[in-house]
């Protein structure tokens, strides 16, 4: 049984308090889950069901994938999906490699320049450079309207470096010393000894980067100008938040009748949420491991 025994000192169970707690938590969970249910159901509904429900549907009796077929058969949404997937994949790989390198370089005690580099990295948590100077730098580097502008400025996150470095520091030093005595170079030690033991932290940091790239909105708004280079977040903003009507031209759906606007909009929302929902369980199982809050004990 997972149930912990109730210690004697807690005194008798107070049933009104139990009911109250259960009610509060139930309402909170429903408040989180209902919007998702409503979006998924509406995206699966046909025109009559949407009309009948007066806008949004809570249960699609006759689910249809027409809206998904329409947005995924080419056109702006498909294009934006591909851009978002590409930026997320490349960005996560680049971020992980540079973060692992920096965290490992900063985790070997007493190496040359490591104190200074650590301080310089940590201090970035205290400030943000500001919108205008950031824009001018990206412009100066010739990255405006390039997908690289979605990756390079946010490539290394100091918080992730710290999480990874603490993990490396907590690793038994004997392992690394043993590898050194066997003649392994620093690089070989990292690849053969340290990384295989750090799968959990690499997974969590990688997922954090992936979620950040997938969700990126402001960097895209700031740096990407051509609509054909838009990631999904800008498509979502234009056609869902700003309610710009989405028609046959944007979808290249051909001669077939368009599914209802509401279904298309909710399908775009669902497509933006699904990848996060898919990787969430993998992220979630690490929360309890205390990986991220392990440093609090100070």
């Amino acid at each position: 049984m997972r149930r912990t025994e109730r210690p004697v000192w807690m005194g008798p169970v107070s049933w009104p308090a139990v009911v109250l707690r259960a009610a509060v938590l139930l309402v909170a969970c429903l408040a989180v889950l209902l919007p998702f249910l409503s979006v998924v159901m509406t995206s699966l509904a046909g025109q009559e069901e949407i009309n009948e429900a007066g806008g949004f549907v809570l249960w699609a009796a006759e689910p249809t994938l027409n809206a998904y077929r329409a947005v995924l058969s080419g056109g702006v949404v498909t294009q934006a999906m591909i851009v978002s997937i590409g930026v997320t994949a490349v960005g996560t790989a680049v971020s992980l490699l540079s973060t692992i390198g920096l965290a490992y370089g900063l985790s070997r005690p007493g190496s040359l320049g490591h104190g200074l580099m650590l301080r310089v990295t940590l201090f970035t948590l205290f400030f943000t450079p500001g919108i205008i100077p950031m824009y001018l730098l990206v412009q100066h580097l010739g990255l405006i309207d390039q997908w690289a502008a979605l990756i390079l400025p946010v490539m290394v996150n100091a918080f992730n470096v710290i999480v990874m470095r603490s993990f490396f520091l907590d690793m038994p030093g004997e392992l690394i010393e043993a590898a050194k005595i066997d003649g392994a170079s620093e690089f070989a030690t990292l690849v053969r000894i340290v990384l295989p033991l750090s799968r959990a932290v690499v997974a969590v940091v990688g997922l954090f980067y992936a979620v950040a790239y997938w969700n990126a909105f402001f960097t895209a708004l700031l740096y990407i100008q051509s609509p054909e280079k838009w990631p999904l977040s800008l498509v979502l903003r234009t056609f869902v938040v700003d309610q710009t009507p989405i028609g046959a031209d944007e979808l290249s759906a051909g001669s077939t009748a368009l599914p209802p606007q509401t279904a298309i909009q909710t399908a775009i929302i669902a497509l933006s949420v699904i990848p996060v929902l898919v990787i969430y369980p993998f992220l979630q199982k690490h929360f309890r491991a205390g990986l991220l809050v392990g440093g609090v004990k100070g």
């Binding site: 969970c29 806008g55 949004f56 990295t121 500001g130 929902l277």
Partner: protein, 330 residues
Amino acid sequence: MKPGLLVRKRSVEPRAPAPRPNDATTVSGHRRSRWRKDRVLIGLAAPGFLAVVLFNYVPLLGNVVAFQDFQPYLGVAGSQFIGFDNFDIIISGDAEFLNALRNTLVITFIQVVLVFPLPICLALLLNSLMNDRVKVLVQSVLYLPHFLSWVIVVALFQNMFGATGQFNSILAATGLPGVTIMGVPELFKAVITSQVIWKDTGWSAIIYLAALSRVDTNLYEAAALDRAGPWQRLWHVTLPAIRPVIILLLILKLGDALSVGFEQILLQQAPVGTSVSEVLDTYVYNNGIVGQNWGVAAAIGLVKGIVGVILVLAANRVAHVFGERGVYQR
């Protein structure tokens, strides 16, 4: 704000440089030999470190445009220096700027008073659950919205509270007149506050839960023996135990006082207008990037950044005065 800032204290102190057994000749600190020994490590760290410097410190140089009549076609090098003219808007109290400042401070105040205590209450509630399976399930559900972007959150809220949203369908079904909650200027601050609560209450509780899990249960037992009831145990045992974490997060929140929900607000300005929704960050964006008023926007961004750093350091100093640990120690 990410909980990771808490690790700063521990991480700043590098471990004592332990002499390695097999290179006793090099520890003495000859730079050349240290470089030869450590060049692989430095090479590994270099790409990430250069990115940190290039995209965090180099942009600070761009703040010179705050003192220029910046024209994009002339560039930073060719634009004329005009001293502090761009700061006139702040000094003379331009109406639009003051409006943005006022909205920012009001929203920060609402968030400190109404939003900040909620994760603490949630953590206390979750901590009181005896059944681990229920606890994990509730946590999993409530953490989820944190991982959605603001675009998605705003879209979901429109789905619920927009002109044709669920809420209006329910009103229509019961015969009541509909109301587009998300388009009413007077309700704007309530809407963004509820969005922040929906998105981040669960996730923010994680840090308090970690602190609560480390409270010594012997303390509760001793308190109970001394006839302390549940509320007295909460007040005299639990809250003092998590007080350092509460103060630390409050300091970080105050340091962020001038940055409120930039993406979130930018996405929802159109239907309600700028008089209720303009905050400092959107002011800088709308004037600088959209309005091409580079110098003034940069000046305001610069002042905002400096005030932000001062606020964190000052709040931390206050925490030290009251004998708390704060973000870092002296």
